[in-house]
Amino acid sequence: MITMSSMPSIRSREIKISQEIPISKTLKFWEGLKEGKIYATRCTNCGRLYFPPNADCPNCLTANIEWVELSKEAEIETFTHVVIRPTTFQQNKPYTVAIGKLKEGVKVLAWLTGFKLSEIKVGMKVKLAAKTTQEGTPTYGFEPLQPK
């Protein structure tokens, strides 16, 4: 443990916290990632498309939703290269986060890999792909349109 201060102090008791986050209502999305598919939800009532997927429509307040596979073609709206990382990402190398807009109109925030930082530009076309984290869990991210 890092000592923070030269001032007299007493250390609080240590606890370890990890919440169990329910995914029953978005299971299709997480299962889809394992098959290389990225799903959004669409309200069958008003037609609005939701990403990240919503199990309920905030516009209609109904649960009449259907799962829709996204096209995966995205245009970068903005990005940043994260050098100084939080505690639970200390084991990762610095990473680039981007927000890309899909042709269906929804936007996705995810890591962008496969480029040098100097190559990344706002307006650039990239591909959204299902991926696996360093820890082996399903995720998604942006990558070059063509494998380099």
């Binding site: 201060s5 994260v82 995810a110």
Partner: protein, 390 residues
């Protein structure tokens, strides 16, 4: 609705305050606010505390209770308000509402935060988790510098804003913080200092970011009847408050060149106060990162959209310009104890509007005696705009 005035203010020294507990720190703001108002702790009927890190970056889970006991206010009505970095303004609004509604005659808005009892990367973790843990932190490790860096990249791409332009915000705010005894950072910086500081989340560098801070600020509010009864010399009236919010997912925002919540909150505040941006003598804006101050100029209507950099470069937000902004050094250099900031902005506006006890170099010349505080929570998740008038 009853008229409400600020009748007492106090602000602790901001910084790394490992010499005091949460309660002892709050006391440093509460005591001078009572002295300023000529009241005692027993006069306060209701206390709204803005504080975010309870149980996370400091150890107490019920800080309103702990702090009130320490400051002699046990028995008053208590609540802790959370609106992320706008918690202080949410507390101010809550205390204001208690009086405006007729429920209380004297209330306190208190901000108190201790962010430096844990290491910096864990503080970054907690704050990053506050973006949207499930969709933006869990897999993507978003930090707050990273969020505002996304805004900076988009603003640069759309309006041609440069890293040097961003640096000018830091140069200005450090200059005024150097004159402010309660500020955390007293070092003046140059554009080169900012540009050569380490990259945190590109294009933002160390000197584009506010520090992690400990600090407290206390504001005592009273009804018009009480102001008369107590014969308060220079009450500062709450002219209007506006608020709004933005989506939890950053990806659901329409664009990344401004905060819609700031636009709406400021329009509502101007309407409530019946004033225009042109009538303001000074403003406190939410400059947690340099890009945030430029966006704030544009979002709250100090200048047109896309002209924030020009406004800054012309010196319009310095003393002598159209509207001095962040004459206390801002979050950027005065420090940003996140639940405290909203109350600390009100502290500064009150001191400025009273033309008292502000160091000469940073006293704003007053014409209309109107000031505005713009306080953003999260990445535009919350926004409160408060307009004060002498």
């Amino acid at each position: 609705m009853r008229k409400v005035a600020i009748i007492g203010v106090g602000n602790s020294k901001f910084g790394v305050r490992n010499d005091v507990t949460m309660s002892e720190l709050a006391y440093e703001a509460v005591k001078p606010s009572f002295e300023d108002a000529g009241l005692t702790a027993k006069d306060v009927e209701f206390v709204a505390l803005g504080s975010v890190g309870a149980g996370a970056w400091y150890e107490e889970l019920l800080p309103a209770v702990v702090v009130s006991e320490y400051c002699g206010m046990t028995g008053a009505g208590l609540v802790r308000c959370e609106a992320a970095c706008a918690s202080g303004s949410a507390a101010f609004f809550t205390a204001y509402s208690a009086i405006a509604s007729g429920q209380a005659d004297i209330a306190m808005a208190l901000g108190a935060e201790k962010m430096r009892e844990i290491d910096n990367s864990t503080s970054m973790e907690w704050i990053g988790r506050a973006g949207y843990y499930f969709w933006e932190f869990h897999n993507f490790g978003m930090t707050f510098p990273a969020y505002y860096a996304l805004y900076a990249t988009a603003h640069m791409a759309k309006y041609g804003t440069t890293e040097e332009d961003l640096a000018l915000v830091a140069v200005k705010n450090h200059k005024y913080a150097a004159m402010n005894p309660i500020a955390q950072l007293h070092n003046k910086v140059t554009v080169d200092d900012v540009l050569s500081s380490m990259v945190i989340a590109s294009p933002l560098k160390l000197y584009d970011c506010c520090p992690m801070s400990d600090g407290a600020a206390s504001i005592i509010l009273a009804s018009e009847e009480k102001v008369k009864e107590l014969k308060i010399d220079t009450p500062i009236w709450v002219a209007g408050i506006g608020y709004s919010s933005g989506t939890a997912n950053l990806s659901k925002r329409p664009d990344f060149v401004g905060l819609e919540a700031s636009v709406l909150a400021s329009q509502r505040a101007y309407k409530a106060a019946n004033v225009t941006a042109e009538q303001l003598d000074l403003a406190e804006v939410h400059d947690c990162f340099t890009i945030a101050e430029i966006m704030a100029y544009e979002d709250i209507g100090l200048c047109k959209k896309g002209e924030g950099v020009k406004f800054l470069r012309e010196g319009q937000t310095e003393i002598g310009g159209k509207i001095p902004v962040n004459m206390d050094g801002g979050l950027k250099a005065k420090g940003h104890p996140i639940g405290t900031t909203g109350c600390s902005m009100i502290y500064e506006l009150t001191k400025q509007l009273r033309e008292e006890a502000v160091e000469k170099g940073r006293q704003v010349p007053l014409k209309n005696y109107i000031g505005l505080a713009h306080n953003v929570g999260g990445t535009g998740h919350y926004c409160y705009v408060t307009i004060l008038k002498r």
